[in-house]
Amino acid sequence: MSRRIALFIAGLIIWLLLSWTLNYQEIIIGAVIALISAGMFGGYLPLEAKKLLNPVRWFWLLVYIPVFIWQCLKANVDVALRVLSPGLNLKPGIVKIKTSLKTEIARVFLANSITMTPGTLTVEIQDDTLYIHWIELRSTDPEEMAKMIKGPFEFFLARIFD
């Protein structure tokens, strides 16, 4: 039930932002649509209300966003240099690493973050194993590889979602 209420509120907020008006007709239509979609899809929302209302998690989320954007910029400059260099500097390979994150949603966010960091692309998640396509294999030791690929993300995601 709490998931449905959370989805209803989120849907209503997105509707109000999209329509950008406080006319009562718009709000009624939005509420009806948000209610229907919350009733249909609320059960799939992989969050718990207890965690959703915890301010410490929101604080870590705010810290996480600038870190993510910085990594993202680094990744883009890296790819841009590779595209413009004549030899492309490629040495690709698919490796597997382990993660210590427990919940599904945290793993999904870790996979997305890894995709946005320099030279790595998540290919498959099986329980706690992630398969990564790495554009330039710089190491073969599993521990070292995991540290290089995950960067600072696991630390933050464990505090936000686990």
């Binding site: 997105i14 932002l17 999209l18 329509s19 950008w20 993202c72 910029l73 990744a75 883009n76 790819v79 841009a80 590779r82 595209v83 413009l84 492309l88 490629l90 040495k91 690709p92 390979g93 698919i94 490796v95 597997k96 996979a111 997305n112 995709t115 946005m116 030279g119 790595t120 692309l121 998540t122 290919v123 498959e124 398969y131 396509h133 554009i135 294999l137 073969t140």
Partner: protein, 117 residues
Amino acid sequence: MISALALISLWVGVVFVLLGALGLVRFPDVYNRMQAATKCVTLGVLGIMLGVFLRSGFNPLGIKAIIGAVFILLTVPVSSHALARGSLIAGVKLWKGTVKDQFTEDRGGKSIIEEGK
């Protein structure tokens, strides 16, 4: 000040989108292409949307640009991940310079690294 920021953000975005699309042409196999396309196009479009928001301010146009940017940031990595997994399972060849392929090794399949010199 704000319009200067908007211009910078817009141009950074446009340049990254262009480089990402160039990477799509230049890289040798589908996985490397995916790397270039996903990263550059995501950040590029984020920059463009942020520029649109800064140019137009808090009106329907700017707010929709921000919503679109958040949506793209969340979905493009997911779709590239799904496509990479699909093409590995379908057996699309890896480039001949590929060093290691633990995914196919673990599934016990035949090597899909392209043969050549």
